[in-house]
Amino acid sequence: MIVKLFGVTREIVGGPLLEVNDIATVGELKDYVMSTYPGIKKLNSLMVAVNSEYAKDDLTLNENDEIALIPPVSGG
């Protein structure tokens, strides 16, 4: 699965996309990126968007979902 990255998460990972494998749920994805990239763990918050909607931790991920990490937003 490909995960889109923005803002500070893009800079921490070092690119706009991250490939992950064997991840079943949103919660697992969060655990994986936080343990793999300690910089992400230090953020104020981390959300995951699935198909352009904020997703809960128990949501199951599918291969063709559009998945994105959402670090703390700061628009406006």
Binding site: K4, F6, G7, V8, R10, E11, K42, L43, N44, A49, S52, E53, Y54, A68, I70, P71, P72, V73, S74, G75, G76
Partner: protein
């Protein structure tokens, strides 16, 4: 109504689009790039958006505002890319029959935008840079 663009925002065109014979008030919020944040000199800002989701979240905010207040017209334009001091990252305009609802709705939209819309801002200083709100 919703626009996310790397081009300068056209405030007058947004205001013109608010015209409505039933309208008595237009409230406009214009965000501008400030030269100082927490006492530190800012050189420029960089904005980045997750565009399809940002549009979706902005649509939700506008729909919720329309449920809460009698809104005739509403527009939210947000700029992305590099912005210098005094440039305009965001313009929100709300047309209502009476003014109190316009003030409330416009403030609701900007407050909620800052909480939920996937847009990120990096402040560039002389000696470094910071993603706003990212860290404690």
């Amino acid at each position: 109504m919703i626009k996310i663009t790397d081009q300068p925002l056209n405030t007058q065109a947004i205001i013109d689009s608010m015209a409505s014979p039933e309208g008595g008030a237009v409230n406009v919020f214009i965000g501008t790039v400030r030269n100082v944040t927490k006492g530190k000199q800012v050189i420029r800002l960089e904005f980045e958006a997750y565009e399809p989701m940002a549009t979706k979240e902005l649509t939700k905010i506008m729909e919720e505002a329309k449920r809460k207040w009698p809104i005739l017209k509403v527009a939210v334009h947000h700029r992305v890319g590099v912005l210098d001091i005094s440039e305009v990252p965001v313009v929100i305009a709300v047309s209502t029959p009476h003014r109190a609802a316009g003030f409330e709705a416009c403030q609701y939209i900007i407050d909620t935008l800052k909480q939920t819309v996937p847009i990120w801002k990096k402040e560039i200083f002389e000696d470094g840079e910071v993603w706003v709100a990212a860290h404690p």
